[in-house]
Symmetry: C2
Subunit: 110 residues, 2 copies
């Protein structure tokens, strides 16, 4: 019997999903797609950065299964495939607010 963690393999897979999301540009893409389907051209226009770089990040979200695309003529429209990821932000915001609180308190204590 293995005395170590119950699910190292599941944790490896879970990490790969979180990692796919853990990048500012990829979060901005998710933020844009939150409003609905968008073509790459629209995504690129709404985000700072080079077209080929943004295209790479779209690919990372695709391969992680978080978004999906559909071609319409020359354009490819992407949309959120797993909208449940939006629920992460409630918690991440709590974490950030807590970080701020503590840093403010540390400043006061000087």
């Amino acid at each position: 019997m293995d005395t170590k963690s119950p699910s190292p393999e599941l944790n490896r897979l879970t990490a790969s999903v979180l990692k796919a999301l853990a990048h500012p540009i990829r979060l901005q893409i998710v933020e844009v797609l939150r409003e609905g389907e968008r073509c790459v051209c629209e995504i690129v226009d709404s985000i700072e950065g080079q077209r080929s770089n943004i295209s790479r990040h779209i690919g990372i979200l695709m391969r992680a299964g978080l978004i999906e695309g559909r071609r319409e003529g020359l354009r490819i429209f992407y949309r959120l495939k797993m909208p449940c990821v939006l629920s992460f932000f409630d918690c991440t915001h709590k974490v950030l607010i807590q970080q701020l609180r503590e840093r403010a308190r540390m400043l006061e204590e000087l």
Copy 2:
């Protein structure tokens, strides 16, 4: 007026929180702490990997504000500070199951 994404800076911070969690060892630490407070020695015993490396990962979770520690003699006991991160796993599991479904379907289509 800025025509780009509404919150690039917030997304940078959000990414830093997600990134802190997006590693197999750190997820295993969270999994262990889910059951309650644990000292480093117990965490190390329950996870595959070198002491100093696990210590580093504990540090990363600490600096992200996801866990907190308390010294008791020689030992330091850590616990989840933001249990809301546990809610992420509902969604990450959905994503993984969906990935599996699609890969199975692709195999069938051969």
